[in-house]
């Protein structure tokens, strides 16, 4: 299929994955592929990226889709026949050397890689990793998939299964230790801890790279078997900003964390800017006259008074039990990243007991570290460690209720799944009476609200609004509105 024809499927998949590709950008991409040959694969990929992806946090999703659609393109990316691979040459070299050294062959004769035992293949891999031999690593990745993955056409099995099978056969889990050991043995003197650390990082990176090669090979074979469209569909993943807090996998959590940092920085900058330029006040007469002196008394540059609106105080009260913990964490991180926008931020966490955790955030500039302290040190279990909003709110009111004043904005965080305890929703009502605003943020999809033991409606009725915050996009939207 010519490249141009592949493009429409490719762009369609980008859009389905949530990337906002406009018509102009699509046309630009079509122009781009005319001037950069697909054989120059990296440049080709970046050319497509430059025209279609305008947000760096979307790059990973783009890369996956690119792999799927273009993995079989270009001569060096054809599916290889395991018997006529580069690995063969390497293997023969090895044998020659062995023969020179020991005066005898290794039994496999001149035969190909099929004759190798898994151990022998693993040893070859180890040597390739030791030397950081890229070409060899790639060849071995392909070889390993061909031998160990056990892929058969039409089998409805996912890529992770094949990956697992391949890696297990290579004993990759112990590879790092083996490499470190071998590295130590080959150096003449004792290496320092710094050197060891650097060596470990290097080996880890090579192993990671090898895994990627294995994954890529599996994907190529799956695409060949099932077609790009079907593969893209199985691999489809949400963009970081759309990942649901409540169902994020480990890897997704990682990407969320990564996305959070630039997002908070942008948010902080945007808010600071708003503050400075927000409102143009009335003419500042004195200032205008003062400046007019440099224009010979002509008031050429009118000056205005900028009103400085009072910053609100914030109290965050968050449920940190199991399913909503991640949501609480991200919200706290976001809030503390922009804390300069508030005159004061206090935070409280609860499960069935409640504890103030403000001090952890005061003690360090490192929000991650503070969050870690919150997780490990906060005293939030009262009876059984199942969420009890009612009890937590009661205690909150008793201890801190008097601190709520007309400058305070209260944020209540959680799914309001109260395990059928008493709601004590009067507390929220009281809060609102005394505070400037009370908002509830719920990480559950709206359609789940008030089902089962969720009583968000009962609390929500006493607030200034309940907001669905399932993902970063929604959370960011809310926080921006708040300030």
């Amino acid at each position: 299929m010519p490249v141009i024809d592949l493009m429409s499927g490719f762009v369609g998949e980008l859009r389905r994955a949530g990337l906002p590709v406009s018509l102009t950008e699509n046309l630009d991409a079509m122009e781009a592929v005319k001037v950069i040959p697909i054989e120059d694969r990296e440049a080709f990929k970046y050319a497509l990226g430059a025209t279609l992806v305008k947000n760096s946090s979307h790059w990973r999703v783009f890369e996956t889709i690119f792999e799927v659609y273009f993995s079989l393109r270009g001569s060096q990316y054809n599916i290889v026949d395991p018997s006529e691979d580069q690995a063969d040459e390497f293997w023969r070299d090895e044998q020659d050397q062995a023969q020179l050294g020991q005066g005898e062959g290794r039994g496999a004769g001149g035969g190909g890689l099929e004759a190798l035992t898994p151990e022998e293949l693993a040893n070859m891999l180890m040597r390739a990793l030791m030397q950081g031999d890229q070409a060899m690593m790639r060849a071995l990745a392909r070889q390993s998939v061909a031998r160990f993955a056990g892929m058969e056409p039409g089998r409805p099995v996912g890529g992770t299964y094949y990956l697992y099978r391949t890696l297990r056969n290579l004993d990759l889990d112990n590879m790092l230790a083996k490499l470190m050991e071998a590295g130590k043995a080959s150096s003449q003197r004792e290496s320092t801890s710094l050197e060891q650390r650097l060596a470990k990082d290097e080996y880890e990176m090579r192993i990671e790279q090898f895994k990627k090669e294995v994954e890529a090979e599996i994907r190529r074979r799956l695409v060949a078997d099932r077609g790009a469209e079907a593969m893209a569909k199985t691999l489809r993943k949400p963009l970081p900003e759309d990942v649901e807090f409540m169902h994020a996998s480990r890897e997704e959590m990682q990407s969320l964390k990564k996305a959070l940092f630039p997002l908070t920085r942008k948010l902080a900058a945007r808010l600071a800017r708003k503050r400075r330029h927000g409102r143009k006040g009335p003419l500042d007469f004195r200032n205008t006259v003062r400046h007019s002196l440099s224009y010979g008394g002509v008031p050429a540059e009118p000056k205005f008074k900028y009103p400085r609106p009072a910053k609100p105080e914030l109290m965050v009260v968050a449920d940190i039990s199991g399913s909503v913990a991640a949501f609480a964490r991200f919200t706290l991180m976001l809030v503390y990243a922009i804390q300069s926008q508030f005159s004061k931020v206090r935070s409280f966490v609860f499960i069935d007991g409640i504890d103030e955790v403000t001090k952890h955030f005061r003690a360090t500039e490192d929000i991650q570290e503070a969050i870690h302290k919150v997780n490990t040190e906060a005293d939030v279990v009262w009876v059984d460690g199942h969420s009890d909003y009612g009890h937590a709110f009661e205690v909150f009111w008793e201890r801190y209720g008097k601190d709520i004043n007309p400058k305070t904005t209260v944020l209540l965080l959680g799914d309001a799944r109260n395990n059928y305890h008493a709601s004590q929703s009067w507390v929220v009502k009281e809060m609102r009476k005394h505070a400037r605003h009370v908002y509830w943020l719920n990480p559950e999809p709206r359609s789940y609200w008030n089902t089962g033991d969720s009583i968000v409606g009962e609390y929500g009725g006493h607030t200034d609004g309940v907001y669905e915050c399932r993902n970063l996009r929604q959370l960011e939207g809310f926080v921006e509105k708040l300030v």
Partner: protein, 288 residues
């Protein structure tokens, strides 16, 4: 353009000759920008070679670099053009008696009284130029709209003088340190290039290219340590400029093989926050 590129490889090699180390992505997008005549928006952390790329491309193509440094409050009069009102006032004063108002008017709104700012300069340039709009994320949204207009039309209309249209489409680079989201419209108009920290090999080459008298061995060690440090969860990861500063410091100190002690004593050149320094020192176990 005086020197059109023939291939992506040529861009990469050309840049390398003048000591800019590009990866496939950077070289590919520069090549594409020239072929398609589109501006490039370069985004990425500070100190990763965004500004330098525009400068180096100018050098490589033998074009004149015109730089518009953005800042908060930058407006049309500083980006595009401005009437030299002082000179205009003087002109009016001088000729109070003789000329009719129309004459004076025509006169004071002529080229002679026009202060050309970078955007207009780039558009009206008769020679090949590279326009660098640096740190565009600092300007207000209104100014961004102005930029977009210029980059879409490649013409500027001055009410008193008429429309000035570009004789050639200059290569344009906009850089952003990503402190705020740029408008969708601007992004659509541009090719997008995300420049991140270089991988170890490229960083080593950058160090070798930029730090005189450094040994390959030391450059290699520096690149390795920096890579390991970047993997930590830091407030601010070291940028390429900081790597270069560190390399220069080590050279000044006469170091040619970094040991734990030297690393610890010089970490502050690489990292700006106390908490980061402590973290790195601990992680690299350069403590003991």
């Amino acid at each position: 353009m005086t020197n059109a590129f023939a291939s992506v490889a040529q861009v990469r090699d050309g840049l390398k000759k003048i000591n800019y180390l590009a990866d496939d992505g950077i070289a590919g997008v520069v090549y594409l920008a020239q072929r398609l005549g589109k501006p490039v928006l370069i985004e990425g952390p500070a100190g990763t070679g965004k500004t330098q790329l525009a400068k180096s491309v100018a050098e490589l193509t033998g074009a004149r670099l015109i730089r518009l440094q953005c800042y908060e409050g930058l407006d049309e009069s500083k980006a595009l053009y401005e009437w030299n009102y002082k000179k205009q006032l003087l002109r009016i004063q001088a000729d109070k008696t003789s000329d009719s108002w129309t004459e004076v008017h025509d006169d004071i709104f002529s080229d002679e009284f026009l202060l050309t700012r970078p955007l207009l300069e780039a558009i009206s340039a008769p020679d090949p130029v590279v326009l660098l709009i640096d740190e565009v994320d600092r300007v207000e949204v209104e100014t961004e709209a102005l930029l977009l207009e210029v980059l879409s039309e490649y013409q500027v209309s001055i009410p008193e003088l008429g429309t000035i249209t570009a004789k050639q489409i200059p290569m344009v680079f906009l850089t952003s340190n990503n402190t705020r989201e740029l408008s969708e419209a601007l992004k659509r108009r541009c090719l997008y290039l995300h420049v991140d920290y270089p991988d170890m090999e490229r960083e080593k080459e950058i160090v070798l290219a930029k730090v005189p008298d450094i040994s390959a061995n030391l450059a290699d060690q520096i690149a390795r340590i920096v890579r390991s440090i970047r993997q930590l969860d830091l407030k601010k990861a070291p940028s390429v400029s900081e790597t270069l500063d560190w390399a220069r410091t080590l050279i000044l100190l006469g170091v040619d093989h970094i040991d734990a002690e030297q690393a610890k004593e010089t970490l502050h050149v690489l990292l700006k926050y106390q908490t980061d320094i402590a973290k790195a020192a601990k992680e690299l176990s350069v403590d003991e």
